[in-house]
Symmetry: C2
C-alpha cells in the first residue's frame, strides 16, 4: 500500500517512525516534509523538521525529539565564547548534517537531493521529500510584529501571541519532484499529529498540494495534535486560542474539513465525536498519545488497521 | 619600537609569541600574515596561518602547533560517517573560528576585519594583518601536476617533488589596509622562521610589499628556517633541494638577498658565516631552535637585543 505522510517535526517523526516500522514495505511510504521552519545558521542551511524525521527514523534523536542523542555542543559553546549570540542549538554531530546539506546546495544541488543523501546515509528505508525546493518560509504574525518562524519558536520560546501567518514564498514555491505524484498515487494519506498552522498549512500552501489532497480518493486520516484541549507538544493550542478556534480536536477537525475523511482523536476526547461527525468527518477514537517507541508503533498499527484490516 | 614580523604558520607563530612577550609594548608589533594557504572547507573560509598565529599567541595552540589544544573532532568524525572524504582536520572549537570569519565575510566584511575580531576575542595585544584581503592562493607545481597548497601540504603530505610555484592572484592582490604603512613605519622588520617559498614569498608577491621592504631603512632580520641542513618543520628543505638551491641557511640567505640585512642562523651552521657574509648579508649566530615557550622568548630577546641593546 502506497502511503503518504504529511509531516512537521517531532510528533510527525515519531508517528512516521511507527508507520515505517508497522508496514510490510517501508519503501512504499513517502513522507512529505515541512521546510517552512528552515533557517540559515551562520550560512548553513538547517532543515529542522527534515532532520528531526531523519534522526528519529534512524533511532538517533535527542531526548526532546530533536538533535542527536548524546551530541556535544563544543562548537556552539566556542561560538558563544567568541561573543556570538547563539540562540539556536546546533550540536557537533548535528553540524555535520548541515554542512553536508549546505555543501550540496552550494554546488547547485537541491534540498530534495540533500534530503535523499542524508536519509540514505542514515539508513532510512522510506522516501523523504521536502514539500518544495524553493524558499517557502513561515512568517509568524504576532502582537509584537512579524517574526521568522525560528525567531518566534526558539528565540522567543513561542511566548508571543500569534495573530496570523504569512507564507510569502508560497505562490512561487513549486512542489519538489515526486510530491504531487506521491499524493496522486497514494492509497492512504496520513496527516501526522503536527501543528495545523505551521507544519501542515505550509505543506498545503504549496501550489498543487492542497488540490491534490482535496481531490484524492484515497482514505485521508489525520491524527489530532490536540488531546484533551492541550497540544501534546509545541504551541498549537495557544495558536488555536489566539486565532479564535476552539482549542480541541473539534477545532482541528474544522481546519481539516474537505481534506481529511477521518480524524483520529484520543479517548479523552470521546465527547467530541458527535460534533466532529456532524461536520461530515469520521472519527477514530483510541489512545493517541505515543509513549515511547512502542507507543508510536501501536498508534500507527491501530490507524493502519482501519484501512487494511 | 615599531616592529613588523612577516609570518607564515607554526614557526612564525612561535617566534612572534616570543617577540610579543619580550617587547615592552606589544601593540607596536604588527604581524603580517600569509593567506596563500587559505582554503574553503565546506564553504567556510579557513585561514590556517592566521589561526595558528592567533591560537599560539593566545596560548591555546595544539600539540603540533596548529588547531586548539584538547579540541574534539566530533563534527569531523560525523562528516566522515556520512561518507565525506575529510582530509583537512577541523576541530569542534576550531570550527567556531571559521564560522565567525565566514559569517563576517558573507556579510561583506573583509579578512582584515575578521582577523581583528578573532584576535581581539582571543585577547591578542599585537596587530595581526592578513597581507591581503584579496584571493591570493599558492599553487604548488609538482612533478605530478599543479596542486592547491593544502592539497599538496595536507592531503598529499608534502610528498610530491616540487618544481615551482604559481601565485595566480598576486598581480591583482592589493595589500590589506595597514600593511604597507606598517612596513614603511617599521623600525625593525623581522622575517619569522617560515618557509621562504610558501610563507614569505606569497607576502612579498603582493604588489608593493617587496618594494616597501627592499627600500626600508629599518634593520631587517630573518631567522633561518633551516638548521643543520634540515627544516625545523615542514617541507622547506625538500623544496630548496628540488628547486636547485643549497639546502642550508646559505640557500636561505641567497633567497633573501636585497631584502634582509642580517640572517639569524643556528650555532650548528657557524661554518656558513663566511659564505653568507660574502653575499653582503650579516649573520647572527645563536641557538635558534625554539624549545618550549621559554625558547621562543629566548630567541626573540636575543634577536631584539641586537637592535635595541
Amino acid at each position: 500500500m502506497r502511503i503518504v505522510v504529511l509531516c512537521g517535526g517531532v510528533g510527525a517523526a515519531r508517528f512516521l517512525d511507527g508507520v515505517v516500522r508497522t508496514v510490510d514495505d517501508p519503501s512504499a511510504v513517502t513522507a512529505i516534509c515541512n521546510v517552512s521552519d528552515d533557517l540559515s545558521w551562520h550560512g548553513l542551511h538547517v532543515s529542522p523538521d527534515i532532520d528531526t524525521v531523519i534522526y528519529t527514523l534512524a533511532g538517533l534523536e535527542g531526548e526532546f525529539g530533536w538533535g542527536l542523542d548524546g551530541d556535544t555542543h563544543t562548537a556552539l559553546e566556542e561560538l558563544r565564547a567568541l561573543g556570538g549570540d547563539e540562540w539556536f542549538t546546533i550540536g557537533d554531530r548535528d553540524l555535520a548534517t548541515h554542512v553536508v546539506r549546505s555543501e550540496l546546495l552550494r554546488r547547485g544541488g537541491t534540498l530534495s537531493e540533500a534530503t535523499a543523501l542524508l536519509a540514505t546515509a542514515r539508513g532510512l528505508t522510506c522516501s523523504l521529500l521536502p514539500v518544495t525546493n524553493d524558499p517557502h518560509p513561515t512568517i509568524v504574525v504576532t502582537e509584537e510584529g512579524e517574526l521568522a518562524f525560528q525567531e518566534y519558536f526558539v528565540r522567543r520560546r513561542s511566548a508571543d501571541t500569534v495573530t496570523g501567518f504569512r507564507f510569502p514564498g508560497a505562490a512561487e514555491a513549486r512542489p519538489a519532484p515526486g510530491v504531487l505524484e506521491a499524493i496522486r498515487e497514494a492509497q492512504l494519506i496520513l496527516f501526522a499529529p503536527s501543528n495545523p498552522f505551521v507544519s501542515i498549512e505550509p505543506l498545503l500552501s504549496v501550489p498543487g498540494v492542497r488540490t491534490a489532497i482535496a481531490t484524492s480518493t484515497a482514505p485521508r486520516i489525520a491524527i489530532s495534535p490536540i488531546i484533551g484541549g492541550e497540544a501534546v507538544k509545541g504551541p498549537a493550542a495557544d495558536m488555536l486560542a489566539s486565532l479564535g478556534h476552539e482549542v480541541s480536536a473539534l477545532g482541528v477537525a474544522r481546519l481539516y474539513l474537505g481534506l481529511v475523511d477521518t480524524l483520529v482523536i484520543d479517548n479523552a476526547d470521546v465527547g467530541l465525536v458527535d460534533d466532529i461527525e456532524k461536520l461530515g468527518m469520521q472519527t477514530l477514537v483510541l489512545d493517541s498519545m505515543m509513549r515511547g517507541r512502542d507507543g508510536r508503533q501501536r498508534l500507527a498499527s491501530e490507524v493502519l488497521r482501519t484501512v487494511a484490516p
